[in-house]
């Protein structure tokens, strides 16, 4: 079953002298439970592609359907709510809310969703234990290492039970040990919850774990390969 359906997705940046086609008519589908890496050199358009996919950057033309909903036909308020309920984000710089504890960061999104307190507390505990930092539930981000912060970010992304998780260079700021451990974690989460993961990455270690690799160059899909990692 397709979670994401993308048709003729195009993004053109108009600078004063030249038109830049950052994404140039991409057509692609992503199925539930995929563990996909979007790769390509700097400036290839992978981040722009991910931003449009995540409802953050409006395409010049084309369609992004998530769970059958054309997200770019929604109003900006509807789109924010849609992101909250359907898309999880993991950023390169973790981007946790610094004044909230690890637990509160995870719980925060469920609070926005209006989930009951008991359910929030239970899921927060479960997720933090699943990402291996159940004992740091009351620690603020500044007291956590980079790897630990990224684990909290993964737990936060999973908290809203999204259709899929977008991770933009999630390992770029981590050392190799933390990277291996995080990838193992995300792979386990993918298997445990059947959550779809889409990464934008340069990291070979991420590519080695991905079961599908989409290579983008000059805004177009150059290669779309599937791998059996089992």
């Amino acid at each position: 079953m397709n979670v994401i359906e993308i048709k003729s997705l195009t993004k053109i940046y108009n600078s004063s002298e030249v038109q830049v086609k950052a994404v140039n008519g991409i057509d692609i589908n992503v199925k539930e439970g995929e563990f996909t890496a979007v790769v390509g050199p700097s400036g290839s358009g992978k981040t722009t592609f991910l931003n449009m996919l995540g409802g953050l950057d409006k395409p010049t033309s084309g369609e992004v359907k998530i769970g059958g909903v054309d997200i770019w036909s929604l109003t900006s308020r509807q789109l924010i709510d849609f992101r909250m309920n359907n898309i999880g984000f993991v950023f390169q710089s973790y981007n946790l809310i610094p004044v909230l504890t690890a637990g509160e960061n995870v719980e925060f999104i469920m609070q926005l969703q209006g989930k009951p307190k008991k359910e929030r507390a239970q899921r927060t505990k479960e997720l933090l234990e699943a990402v291996g930092i159940g004992d740091r539930i009351n620690s603020r981000p500044s007291k956590l290492s980079g790897g630990q912060q990224q684990r909290v970010a993964v737990a936060r992304a999973l908290a809203s039970k999204p259709e899929f998780i977008l991770a933009d260079e999630p390992t770029a700021n981590l050392d190799s040990k933390a990277t291996t451990s995080l990838l193992e974690l995300m792979s386990n989460m993918n298997k445990k919850y059947n959550t779809t993961f889409i990464f934008a990455t340069h990291d070979q270690r991420v590519m080695d774990k991905a079961r599908r690799i989409i290579t983008i160059e000059d805004g177009k899909i150059l290669k779309d390969e599937y791998f059996n990692r089992d």
Partner: protein
């Protein structure tokens, strides 16, 4: 909502130094604004009270021409209707008759112009505590034929208690008013201008001096508080007496009112400047808070935080800064100025002379009128509302992708 307040509160203390400095600027702004207004209002209230107590009263009934042409020719007899209103109104604390006229006062060698006030000694003392201001001699009794003289006039005329003073003026309808009187007391008023020219005598004595029999030139009414003036005036104006008018202290002392209004305008300018400086300081802080968290705000929108909720969060943050400053300003200033209200600062030396030369009592009086305290709070609220417009535009214009790249 509580969660927003908790997050906002924690956000404030991410940079405690900046929060404290900004709140301190609000605190000092509130404190100094309260101090300036308290001193100014205190001085004016003190001056008004002194003028009302010792001279004009809060309300006066006069013959209708007396205001433009003061003199015994424009005297009147207080009607029984007025007396009924005065006696029945609970807000009236005292009512006393007066005869006011001018005369030349002479000791035989020197003469000075003087302002003679015929009073009901007991009632006047009750109203103004006149006897407490005697520095020499004794207070005159009802039906006394003696005088009490301001100490500056006494010094100018080189007279003392027990000495005789000659008064020469004009009585009712051109009759010569003349007499020789014994000085029974010398007083020192908190209003220096009065010390130079006032002579008090019993009202019957003054009526005889001016040949006006039972007529008076004014009836002075004191009320419990200045807030009661309007109510009493309205009742007095119901009395159908075409020959008299009823005046407030503002109408009786327009120059004092002008002085107060002038001083208040200049003080308002200083306070405006003070609050403008605070306003720009607060604005700078809010700008920094917004810009340095641009990325974080972008992340919050990306993960599902509506802009309206984000705006509420940042507005709570700035409101908390204002509340810390205002509340601490009020908590610290109230006891300070409450103490100073009951214990005014007495000015001495050269400064006291300067005060007196300007017609002020040589003391720094303070006021604790509630508006002194809530006005700065309202101004700070307005400042924060104005600054919050910046936050509204900032959040409304926030581009998530650009914020995430910042």
């Amino acid at each position: 909502m509580l969660n927003y307040v908790i997050i906002a509160w924690r956000n404030l203390w991410r940079n405690p130094r900046r929060t404290l400095i900004t709140s301190a600027s609000v605190f000092f702004g509130v404190f100094f604004a309260i101090m300036m207004t308290s001193i100014q209002k205190g001085s004016f209230e003190n001056m008004i009270e002194n003028m009302a107590r010792f001279y004009s009263g809060y309300i006066q009934i006069q013959e209708k021409e007396f205001m433009n042409t003061p003199g015994v020719n424009n005297s009147f007899e207080l009607s029984p209707e007025y007396k009924t209103v005065i006696n029945n109104n609970q807000s009236v604390t005292s009512s006393t008759k007066r005869v006011e006229t001018f005369a030349l006062a002479s000791n035989g060698e020197n003469s000075y112009p003087s302002f003679i006030i015929g009073i009901e000694p007991d009632k006047e003392d009750l109203k103004s505590g006149l006897s407490e201001h005697l520095i020499k001699g004794s207070y005159i009794n009802t039906n006394s034929v003696n005088l009490m003289v301001g100490h500056v006039l006494a010094e100018n005329l080189n007279i003392d208690t027990g000495d005789s003073l000659i008064l020469l003026g004009q009585g009712y309808h051109g009759v010569t008013a003349a007499g020789i009187y014994e000085v029974q007391g010398i007083f020192d008023f908190p209003l220096p201008a009065l010390n130079k020219q006032i002579i008090y005598m019993d009202i019957a004595n003054a009526q005889e001096f001016a040949s006006i029999q039972n007529r008076i030139t004014s009836n002075i009414i004191m009320v419990e508080s200045t807030d009661n003036i309007e109510e009493v005036i309205n009742e007095l104006k119901q009395v159908n007496d075409k020959d008299t008018n009823v005046y407030t202290w503002q109408e009786l002392m327009p120059e004092l009112l002008n002085l107060i209004e002038g001083k208040e305008s200049s003080s308002a300018m200083v306070k405006t400047l003070l609050f403008m400086i605070i306003g720009f300081g607060v604005w700078a802080t809010i700008m920094m808070m917004m810009h340095e968290r641009k990325r974080e705000l972008g992340v919050m929108i990306a993960i599902g935080f509506q802009k309206s909720k984000l705006l509420l969060l940042v507005l709570i943050e700035s409101a908390l800064i204002g509340i810390i400053g205002v509340v601490s300003g009020l908590i610290i200033s109230f006891p300070v100025f409450y103490y100073l209200f009951h214990n005014p600062i007495v000015v001495t030396g050269k400064m006291a002379e300067t005060y007196e030369s300007m017609g002020f009592e040589a003391k720094i009086a303070f006021s604790i009128n509630p508006e002194i305290f809530y006005n700065p709070a309202i101004i700070v609220l307005v400042i924060f509302m104005a600054v919050s417009l910046y936050q509204v535009f900032f959040i409304a214009g926030l581009n998530v992708v650009k914020s995430l790249k910042s």
